[in-house]
């Protein structure tokens, strides 16, 4: 229980300060324009329907604070986002997550547009339909057109919900690169540096069956031999690098229209070493840029893909006596709930920043408006500035 005099008030003030300084910096350093002045013309941009649009969503996780990313003192940690991506994006400086701040349940909430309440550490599907289910059912898309690449075994049920109107076989296929690597390396002792399941409960990984299916994914779907996969993994230094490698393979071989990647290296912060947390942010920044480059070079994606990048949530504020700063996301304070989002690529106006608060549940209905499905059960609203 916090004993400080008014940490909540000071957190709010700090959040407001970051929001304004970040916005001002972005306007000058990255040549962004205040969103409200261009909203009208932005709508005109989208008056013509875009055929065969693709969407990629990256969750910049797990959990990054403003002051280590877009606040002035944090921008050195995200050079690729600042230099290459921000100027080409529409940027939302206040995205509020009002749900449970656990990575699986928060990502599930992002994917359903409803604040989910499933157990963060149990292997359970979301209770509400996911974007992948809306997308496939409404648009009659095949299973190969929606994929999730996720960081840990706990995410294996995120592709489809337990909702009675949707559910089994109507959602996305989920690929767990670490599980894939473990299956490909059955019995071997290598790759331990890539295989830690998660950082919140680092000693545990929910057990999954189906190694045969996993290895089969490599050959049949990803056109990748087990030996090539293992050889490539040996050169990688982090689980998120492994995820991005798989993403590149998916883009090349299957070119799904809806692709969701959950990054997780940043969550090493739970171990309390600030330098490792910063390393995670810098790596995630670089990997986001790699995916953006891939979008530009893959023929199936170039010119018709919209990319979303957003953290699932922040982390606790330094000045909240109830927490321990960057290490966790347990207090539910303002900074841990407030993050950012950028959208860039096809149909997106470049160099615009919007300060109005949006909700993290607004993502799914926005994807629906872009791709042509209706997120009937979502609590969010389509983000008009992107439509």
């Amino acid at each position: 229980m916090s004993r400080s005099s008014s940490p909540q008030a000071s957190s709010r003030a700090l959040a407001a300060h970051f929001a304004s300084t970040r916005r001002d910096f972005l306007r000058t350093a990255a040549s962004l324009t205040l969103g409200a002045t261009v909203l009208g013309s932005s709508r005109l941009l989208h008056a013509v329907a875009m055929p065969k649009r693709k969407v990629i969503v990256i969750t910049f996780g797990g959990g990054a604070r403003d002051q280590e990313t877009f606040a002035p003192e944090g921008q050195e940690n995200i050079p690729h986002l600042m230099r290459d991506l921000i100027p080409r994006s529409t940027f939302f400086s206040q995205v509020v997550n009002r749900g449970i701040l656990g990575h699986y349940v928060a990502t599930a909430s992002l994917a359903t547009g409803v604040y989910e309440t499933v157990n963060n550490f149990a292997s359970l599907p979301p209770e509400n339909p996911t974007a992948f289910e809306y997308f496939r059912k409404d648009l009659k898309r095949p299973a190969s057109d929606a994929w999730v690449v996720a960081p840990s075994n706990g995410f294996n049920r995120i592709g489809e919900s337990s909702h009675r109107a949707y559910g089994p076989s109507t959602g996305a296929r989920v690929i767990l690169p670490k599980h894939l690597l473990r299956a490909a390396n059955a019995g071997g002792q290598d790759y331990e540096h890539l295989l830690r399941d998660n950082y919140e409960t680092p000693l545990y990984a929910p057990q999954l069956s189906g190694n045969d299916f996993e290895v089969e994914q490599l050959g049949r779907m990803l056109k990748l031999s087990v030996d090539d996969f293992k050889s490539r993994a040996r050169t990688l230094s982090s689980p998120d690098e492994l995820s991005v490698y798989i993403v590149r393979q998916l883009m090349r071989e299957l070119a799904p229209s809806l692709l969701w990647i959950t990054m997780h290296d940043i969550d090493i912060a739970h171990a309390g070493a600030y330098s490792l947390y910063i390393d995670g942010i810098r790596r995630t920044d670089r990997l986001c840029a790699d995916i953006w480059k891939a979008i530009g070079t893959e023929p199936e994606y170039a010119g018709k893909t919209t990319l979303f990048i957003l953290p699932d949530f922040g982390r606790d504020a330094d000045d909240d006596a109830g927490g321990n700063g960057f290490q966790h996301h347990r207090t539910g304070d303002t900074l841990s709930r407030t993050t950012w989002m950028m959208a860039l690529g096809a149909g997106i106006r470049e160099g615009v920043v919007f300060d109005r608060p949006i909700d993290s549940t607004d993502l799914v209905p926005t994807l629906g408006s872009m791709l042509g499905f209706t997120a009937s059960y979502s609590q969010g609203k389509p983000i008009q500035e992107l439509l």
């Binding site: 229980m1 916090s2 004993r3 400080s4 005099s5 008014s6 940490p7 909540q8 003192e73 009002r98 749900g99 449970i100 701040l101 656990g102 604040y115 309440t117 550490f121 331990e192 540096h193 295989l195 830690r196 409960t201 680092p202 000693l203 545990y204 090493i268 739970h270 171990a271 309390g272 070493a273 600030y274 330098s275 490792l276 910063i278 390393d279 330094d318 000045d319 006596a321 321990n324 700063g325 960057f326 290490q327 966790h328 207090t331 539910g332 304070d333």
Partner: protein
Amino acid sequence: MLPADLKPELFAAYPPEAKKLVVGYVPTLQRLPLAYVPSLLREVIEYDFKFPAERKALEKELASLGSLSPEQTKVWFQSFAQIQLSPDLEKSDWANAPAQFVENLSSHLWTTHQLDAFRTAALDYADRLHAVMHAEPPVVPRLGITVIGQGVGSAEEPLFRKLRPHGAYFTNVKPEGGLQALLKACADRAQTHPIPYGHWYIDGGDAAVHDAALTCVSYGGLGPARAALSEKIRSDIERPGMGPEFLRTLMARLRPADLGFSAADDPVLDRFQVKLLTEGSGTQIFSTTFTQWAAREALRRAQPHTLLVRFAPRQRQKPMNEMLAAGRDTADLDPAGSLVDGDMGAYYNWLNLQRLTGAEQSSSVVWFEGHNEAVALGPALPRGTTSNASASLEQLLSWAA
């Protein structure tokens, strides 16, 4: 069971001092909402193993609650009373297992979207309590010292960036005999103001030679306890049905004797050290995490007048099982990363010192060990300034005071 059903005999299993304390306040507790009472009992049940400052604060809190009229009690706790609890929470043995209740309550609050309401209630309560409890100023202005960067040749990035705006940055500090000078300054304060658990020395490696008047905790000194804990974790996770929540519960039940502490040791300090290892996240594997968390907990709980914290290199990041098993002699160290960890840790030490009484008079010095760089913060030092003048660490301490 609800608080209104509390009876003195329900506390029979509490440690002796805690039992004596709580039975005198049963009528008071009966008037309070269930959303609050276990949080208080979680502190009470540990009373026998608390530091003097914590004991005094708890006694004052209970006395303040006991002095409230029924109307005042209603006003103070109306927000807590509005929190909706589950039947399972009500049925649990929260009087005897308050920590377990609080953990389950946390999960319940997140799931039912009541966390913000609870947070508001807690802050409101803390403000009211703060207003009626007259915090005693320290007998001497508090001093916090943090030493970072052991084993680092040169810093890759500018140091003290978060602290410089709040104090004076010195670029020409004489490093010779620095650590000994800082330890001597702490020892002098401990000798002049002998307060139980009032003067601390925390080291992220092996403790340097120091005055016995200092309460000392070191990561190196806890090597056998850490090894015993790692062994327990390794064997426990193999047990059928084990999961993260149950493992946490088992770790919370560990007592000093389980990790090899001698019965002849200081039971209060031993319990504190066990909690650092069993309740801190990452404290078992990274010495920098241990050091920062130990300093945070010492400041929060013991409220020391003097605190010297020395960071040491942590082991390099490796797979979890390997890090848990790493012997001290074989660990591959990461001094550069540890410097970054320590720099942030120094900032947190300063923030946590500012949360204690007398903050406006407290002073802090942070030194890059073996080098010429330091930052000093205190009422007499100008903020956001830089000095290139040659200075000893003793001079910095005197200027900051």
